[in-house]
């Protein structure tokens, strides 16, 4: 890990003990004392499967060697040990939660790993990519360090561009009382501004009442993966509070997996909401797009329906940890003629290898990410699909990398991209010839 050799800071045992005590609730106590070392979890883990069943990659070993050991030694550990833990909790686990479905006791290994990350973070240990994102969140409220001004300007730019294709597209900023407050992954305004345009086009054609907030627009939560729980809570609170202030009916999450996990499941706890529920309902794009197609608010041009074989990547945090696997499948049925499921699938899907903060951990971890992504690459190859739909940015980037690495010869696409290509644009949204000429 970066900076390991030069790190001579003393270990703050007191702080570690504080955190161990604070987390020593009934669940963690029970899980750690109950694990019967049966080894059933091993087969569920893609890290284990991708590395020729290396026993050190079994989920039970990973939490036993990290958090289990921290409790056993009551926090009296050295830097060497902490870096070994860091290597496990960031390099060998994406907190995809698949193993907890394969454990007879349902031990939530992801929670144990996340707790270890919190302890390591308290000692200044976190992968550089996440550490840098954390600084950006703290300074600007989003992971890419984009200013509110730049964000709003990018929205305007994309709205203007989209008007050439769809009449009347706007990206309403801070519109009070809208039905949905659309929140995005900062990668969109930063690297793929067309994603904003595509969302605007779809929402316009569906005649949705929506708005984009000028602050709190970043729905991602990398501090959650970096182990900075306080900041993770602040990040999600920014979004919740903006939604409450605007008086919207729900927060709409872009095609991003962990944002949904953060906003709907972990966020309320990170932000300290005692009932564990977000203050406004959370809706994921997969859900909303499915509803649009089901209700006919968006219609697909039958002639443009995807002819090539298509498979669907279940993002862990949308499917298993978000409960939207059926919506995703039904959605794909509207878009593609030849749908081929991966195996295993739905809530039993394998993580692509890019989740849990792995992608933003940066190039330092790329080789390992490619090696452990072998399971996903083989799954995709076995379907014979030419298009992989990935409604999650991390999956999208990981699958794009895997595509090159394993020469899968597929095209990775987001739902927005496909919808914009093949949806029917009703007459009233088609720019008139004169306007089109003008804009040319």
């Amino acid at each position: 890990m970066h900076g390991k050799e030069s790190d001579t800071r003393p270990v703050d045992v007191k702080k570690i003990r504080e955190l161990l005590d604070a987390n020593n609730g009934a669940r963690i106590r029970t899980w750690l004392s109950l694990c019967s070392r049966c080894g059933l979890c091993a087969e569920s883990c893609f890290f284990y499967l991708a590395h020729d069943r290396n026993p050190k990659l079994s989920p039970a070993y990973k939490f036993k060697a990290t958090l289990g050991e921290l409790y056993r030694r009551k926090g009296r550990v050295d830097r060497e040990f902490l870096y070994r833990c860091a290597d496990i909790v960031w390099g060998e686990c994406t907190t995809c939660k698949r193993c907890s479905m394969y454990c007879p006791f349902g031990i939530d290994v992801a929670t144990l790993i996340a707790t270890t990350r919190t302890i390591l973070y308290s000692q200044g240990i976190t992968p550089e990519g996440l550490a840098r994102a954390v600084v950006n969140y703290r300074e600007t409220g989003n992971q890419m360090g984009m200013s509110s001004e730049d964000f709003v300007d990018t929205c305007e730019w994309m709205a203007e561009e989209s008007q050439d294709e769809i009449k009347g597209v706007t990206i309403p900023i801070d519109k009070a009382g809208a039905k949905y407050m659309y929140t995005v992954n900062p990668r969109e305004p930063m690297f793929y501004p067309q994603d904003l345009a595509m969302a605007a086009k779809i929402l316009t054609v569906a005649e949705e009442d929506w708005t984009m907030p000028s602050t709190g627009w970043d729905c991602t939560n990398l501090p959650m993966f970096a182990g900075d729980r306080a900041l993770a809570g602040q990040v999600v609170r920014n979004m919740y509070e903006k939604a409450v202030a605007l008086g919207v009916q729900a927060i709409l999450i872009t095609e991003c997996g962990h944002a949904y996990r953060s906003a709907l499941f972990e966020g309320p706890y990170l932000a300290g909401y005692p009932d564990g529920k977000p203050p406004v309902p959370i809706v994921h794009s997969v859900q909303l797009f499915y509803e649009y197609l089901r209700d006919g608010r968006i219609r697909i041009d039958p002639a443009k329906k995807l002819k090539e074989p298509v498979t669907y990547q279940d993002p862990c945090n949308v499917s298993r940890n978000g409960g939207l696997w059926e919506e995703g499948r039904k959605l794909v049925q509207f878009l593609a003629e030849d749908f081929r499921d991966m195996n295993p699938n739905r809530e039993h899907n394998h993580c692509c290898g890019g989740g849990g903060g792995y992608i933003p951990m940066g190039p330092e971890y790329k080789a390992r990410r490619m090696a452990s992504g072998r399971v996903k690459a083989e799954q995709i190859r076995a379907t014979g699909a030419k298009i992989v739909i990935a409604p999650c940015h991390n999956c999208f980037d990981q699958l794009s990398d895997l595509n090159k690495e394993y020469q899968l010869g597929v095209k990775v696409m987001s739902l927005k991209e496909i919808l914009c290509e093949i949806m029917i644009v009703p007459e009233k949204f088609q720019p008139q010839e004169a306007e089109r000429e003008e804009s040319d």
């Binding site: 994102a133 300007d153 930063m190 501004p193 940066g362 190039p363």
Partner: protein, 176 residues
């Protein structure tokens, strides 16, 4: 005529001709010349960028170092002794996105850039390659202002010379 001219520097000699054109236009119209280089994000998910020293995280030091280099490289090419109306800017991200964003924000009147980057001037040209690189293509489609893509006459010459090469390659393929 023009108030602000944006020259997109790719740090390769292949865009020198475009710079000469931008400078000429700026001097003639008394416009401000902005030299912008975008450090390309290697991975579209982190602040990691490609620099001449390899991959690194974009940060103030990296930006300052590059600005200094840009000044050294381009200001020599300006004949006037004390060029006042020239500014050097550095951004990180996807080049065409940042160029368009910058042009909108600064309300520039004209963007001047080369058609595409030639990383290795000795490499034979591939005629099957599109005549515009992705950045030139996207910028010319999406920019809020005029865009001038300037090719060097040498490049055209090189294209003619290299003309035989791809055809030969094709012939070989059919023989097989």
């Amino acid at each position: 005529m023009y108030q602000k001219i944006l020259f997109c520097a790719d740090l390769y000699a292949s865009s020198d001709y475009a710079f000469a054109a931008a400078l000429d236009l700026a001097e003639r119209s008394g416009a401000e010349l902005i030299i912008l280089h975008v450090l390309e994000s290697r991975h579209r998910y982190s602040g990691h960028v490609i620099t001449e020293d390899g991959e690194t995280w974009a940060g103030p030091e990296v930006f300052e170092k590059l600005k200094k280099k840009l000044r050294e490289y381009y200001l020599i090419r300006i004949e006037r002794e004390d060029p006042q109306n020239v500014r050097v800017e550095v951004r990180a991200g996807i080049p065409w996105v940042e160029i368009c964003r910058f042009a909108r924000k600064e309300k520039v009147d004209l963007i001047v850039m080369g058609p595409y980057t030639i990383h290795d001037p000795k490499a034979p040209l591939d005629l099957e390659k599109p005549h515009l690189g992705q950045n030139a293509q996207e910028v010319s489609l999406r920019a809020p202002c005029q865009v001038s893509i300037v090719t060097s006459p040498k490049q055209r010459l090189a294209l003619e010379k290299a003309g035989e090469f791809p055809r030969e390659k094709k012939r070989k393929r059919t023989q097989e």
